[in-house]
């Protein structure tokens, strides 16, 4: 007999044009002591299901039908009274620990209030219980920290506080909605371990909502896959990940970059695009393809960057060395990967290479020219033409007020002011086709495109100047896995056809493994080691690299 039974749960969002069914007839069961992974891409309705269980759906959405039975209680019988089960029977953890806590109440106050809401305890007893809880979730000096405000905790610690809050009234069901997405890999594994430990010790039923197949593979006992509000498949984790029955699950699993090997291309299950080979020939006609010379295209020498206050004040303290004495080279035609956790300085290096920031110390050589010392405007333009960048967030990297045509034509016109209008149009169409977009796209605005399509527009724009070096700053981390696979394939193809050199920056080790020839590992602005990809993954030298590799969630762990 399952502890939690979700029967025919549907959630509707009546919108202006149509009603969106965020969840439709979802049936899920969870047992005690078990972690159920709920996976799906963005918009699949996985979070909606999590919130619907305790009827915490934002306006104008509402639970339209279905029942949720907890033990032998149908908690959806009287939805207005569901408040008494919140916290008491069911705990919920949100994604972002930065915003989940009330900033002006101490964590003690928040704990005591929650405890006293549900349990009949005196303030003293509640305090003792809170401190025990804080100890249990791994917060040191709990008695002192009890009186601290949320901003005095780091992200990982905050998530522990959030967990303690979710568990303080001893609920039997824990819903964790992307609990580690906002956290770095090392913290992620700690939090996941904590959840696993608590599940075991407290015999909890846990629903772990995530998009990360690696996390699922390592934590969940069973998996439910969702797509467009519908439950696609549910079953034991190993079964789903190794022998998926549904096409969607298959494509999902195949899109996940493997951590243990390098593959040539991702298998796109439903549509393998064959056209792009021909399309790219068109752009090749325009492309001044440069033969690859065996040389270092980029040389980074003792690069350092410190931010003093009033620039990055929010994220770092005064005068932090964001990049500290980093040296490496990128050979022409290769893909060089830079990996590191947030704050490791990898994006800063990228921005210095494309000359968005000036380095505080050190030099960058591009094609044997020191680009950090260029003052001349026309020289700078020459250099700008050769290095382009693709950004992480496909939403902010395109100006929403400009049509795609204008976005792509801007670099063309800037670097070739004499281009005729027809030629320009042709150029734009060729570029669009090279990234597998239709010509019609040119007359539309960015908001009419999906994230993946936007990233393609971004790439088209970057290609417009015919660069030699393409800096990709986490180009896929904001995308769903299936889209990620497509974009990564596209990048690989383009690199091959256009003889591009790529600097690939990511926190995602499996992705880097698929994309890069050589990899540099960054920690706190320092370069730990640089080596060939396979070497790095098989025989890591630096302690930090070893730790990272060990902690990274591996989808393959299901086989072990």
């Amino acid at each position: 007999m399952s502890f939690l039974k979700i029967k025919n749960l549907s959630v509707d969002y009546p919108m202006r044009k149509e009603t969106v069914y965020a969840a439709k007839n979802v049936n899920i069961e969870v047992n005690k002591g078990e972690i159920l992974g709920l996976v799906g891409e963005s918009g699949s309705g996985k979070s909606t299901v999590g919130n619907a269980i305790i009827n915490l759906i934002d306006e104008p959405g509402k639970v339209s039908s279905g029942s949720v039975i907890l033990g032998d209680l149908n908690i959806h019988e009287d939805r207005n009274n569901i408040i008494k089960y919140r916290g008491k029977k069911i705990g919920l953890i949100f994604q972002d620990p930065q915003t989940s806590l009330n900033p002006i109440l101490t964590i003690g106050e928040q704990l005591i209030e929650t405890i006293q809401t549900h349990l009949n305890l005196s303030k003293e007893e509640a305090k003792n219980k809170s401190i025990d809880l804080l100890n249990e979730v791994g917060i040191k000096d709990a008695e002192i920290r009890f009186n601290n405000y949320p901003h005095q905790f780091s992200g990982g610690m905050r998530q522990r506080v959030v967990i303690s809050l979710a568990l303080c009234c001893e609920p039997e069901l824990l819903i964790a909605d992307e609990p580690t997405t906002a956290l770095d890999v090392s913290i992620q594994s700690q939090i996941l371990d904590l959840i696993k430990k608590l599940t075991k010790e407290r015999n909890l039923a846990v629903i772990l909502i995530t998009h990360d197949m690696g996390v699922i593979a390592e934590t969940a006992n069973r998996v439910a896959v969702m797509k467009s509000g519908k439950l696609v498949e549910i079953g034991a984790t190993k079964e789903i990940l190794t022998e998926p029955k549904q096409t969607y699950t298959k494509s999902l699993v195949s899109s996940v970059p493997p951590t243990n090997k390098k593959i040539l291309r991702f298998v796109i299950v439903d549509k393998e695009n064959k056209k792009n080979q021909e399309n790219n020939i068109k752009i090749l006609n325009r492309w001044n393809k440069k033969e690859i010379i065996k040389q270092d295209l980029v040389q980074i020498k003792k690069l350092g960057k410190s931010f003093d206050d009033n620039f990055f004040t929010e994220s770092s303290k005064n005068s932090v060395m964001a990049v500290d004495n980093v040296s490496f080279e990128i050979k022409e035609g290769e893909s060089f990967g830079l990996v590191g956790e947030s704050g490791s300085g990898k994006s800063t290096i990228a921005k210095m290479i494309v000359n968005l920031f000036k380095p505080s110390t050190g030099d960058i050589f591009f094609d044997n020219i020191c680009i950090t010392k260029i003052n001349n405007k026309s020289e700078m333009m020459k250099f700008r033409k050769q290095i382009q960048m693709i950004f992480q967030d496909p939403y902010s990297s395109l100006n929403g007020r400009l049509k795609v045509r204008d976005i792509i034509s801007e670099p063309i016109k800037l670097h070739n002011p004499s281009i005729s209008n027809t030629d320009l149009d042709g150029y734009i169409f060729d570029l669009l086709e090279s990234v597998e977009l239709t010509q019609k796209s040119a007359d539309r605005y960015p908001h009419e495109f999906s994230g993946g399509q936007r990233q393609r527009i971004s790439i088209a724009r970057a290609l417009a100047t015919q660069p030699r070096l393409l800096v990709c700053d986490e180009p896929t981390s904001a995308l769903d896995v299936s889209i990620q696979a497509q974009i990564l394939n596209l990048l690989k193809d383009l690199q091959e056809q256009l003889n591009l050199t790529i600097l690939f920056i990511s926190h995602d080790l499996p992705v880097v493994r698929q994309m890069c020839d050589r990899i540099g590992v960054l920690k706190d602005g320092k370069l730990c080691e640089v080596s060939n990809t396979e070497e790095l993954f098989l025989k890591p030298q630096h302690e930090y690299t070893k730790k990272l590799l060990h902690l990274m969630p591996k989808i393959e762990s299901i086989y072990n």
């Binding site: 009033n310 921005k351 700078m380 290095i387 382009q388 967030d393 990297s397 801007e410 007359d443 100047t465």
Partner: protein
């Protein structure tokens, strides 16, 4: 995606259009505003009277009550004032002055504020610090006070004959100078957000110059909040203008604005000639209220934070 998408379809498809169609207050207030704007700017063609041509006035017709009252004359729908001027025409002429001053002042402060805010947000550093410091100082000095001070200084500096001619410019400047910090703050904050968006970096990497980035890329993206502030600011500017004129430091009585009319009519409040002050006042309130309603609607619609 076969059909061609033209701009009108795009507008019809937009959330703003739908929100507008669904909001009766927005529709009603825009209609009222349209009528007021239209009548004020084409007043010469609408009313047969020119209240500022002294030779056309007859003092004996002064204090004629509105046409529906016992002593009213049909040719003066809203009656006449103490000089025999037709109230309706006077109000429309007055509202034109008020609107011109309001619009110009807001335009002035918008250009100044957005210019400063945009550059401050974009360039940062000491320049930004100075601009924001200035903004803070200016923001704490309330608009009315600022306007009074400017007017006072202008009175001291400009000779009296000049002052009457310059009054309207002084007023525009006085109100404009006190409203710009709003725009500077909003546009700076928005610029800071936009500046850190990757499309700006992308443009920089492509080699687009700072000026083009600021005005072609960032400016259109920060216009929404600026527009909201501008609309609400317009109402404030109109009220400020009428307040100053009411206090007697605004436009000269020879070219009365709504505030001047209220001040002049105020003397007749107890003598039974209520229409002389009542109609300009109610007109002013309707004008400001409509603009505010529209601004309020715009704020709710254009502020994505409040609709999820």
């Amino acid at each position: 995606m076969d059909k061609t998408i033209n701009t009108w379809d795009r507008i019809k498809d937009s959330d703003i259009y739908h929100s507008f169609i669904k909001s009766p207050t927005a529709i009603v207030s825009s209609i009222i505003l349209f009528i007021i704007f239209f009548c004020s700017f084409f007043v010469e063609f609408i009313t047969p009277y020119n209240p500022f041509d002294p030779s056309s006035l007859s003092l004996m017709e002064a204090f004629t009550p509105p046409s529906w009252t016992e002593d009213g004359l049909t040719k003066f729908i809203l009656g006449t004032d103490g000089q025999g001027r037709d109230m309706l025409s006077t109000i429309l002429y007055g509202s034109r002055i008020s609107l011109i001053v309001g619009f110009s002042a807001i335009l002035f402060s918008l250009i100044l504020g957005v210019g400063l805010g945009l550059t401050a947000g974009y360039f940062g550093g000491k320049y930004e610090m100075i601009v924001m410091r200035l903004t803070d100082v200016q923001l704490t000095v309330p608009s009315i006070l600022m306007a009074l001070l400017v007017d006072g200084i202008a009175r001291g500096l400009i000779s009296r004959e000049m002052h009457d001619e310059m009054a309207i410019y002084v007023l525009i400047f006085a109100i404009g100078i006190s409203e710009w910090p709003q725009f500077a703050r909003v546009s700076r904050a928005a610029t800071l957000v936009e500046k850190n968006k990757d499309y700006v970096s992308a443009s920089t990497i492509i080699g687009v110059s700072n000026l083009v980035i600021m005005f072609k890329h960032i400016l259109p993206n920060i216009l929404r909040p600026v527009l909201v502030i501008g609309t609400i600011g317009l109402a404030l500017a109109i009220i400020a203008e009428s307040t100053l004129s009411f206090l007697g430091v605004g436009v000269p009585p020879t070219t009365p604005s709504l505030g001047t009319l209220i001040r002049l009519g105020n003397d007749f409040l107890f003598s039974g000639e209520w229409w002389i002050t009542f109609f300009p006042a109610i007109f002013l309130v309707i004008l400001a209220f409509s603009i505010n309603l529209l601004g309020d609607w715009m704020r709710d619609t254009l502020n994505p934070r409040l609709k999820k």
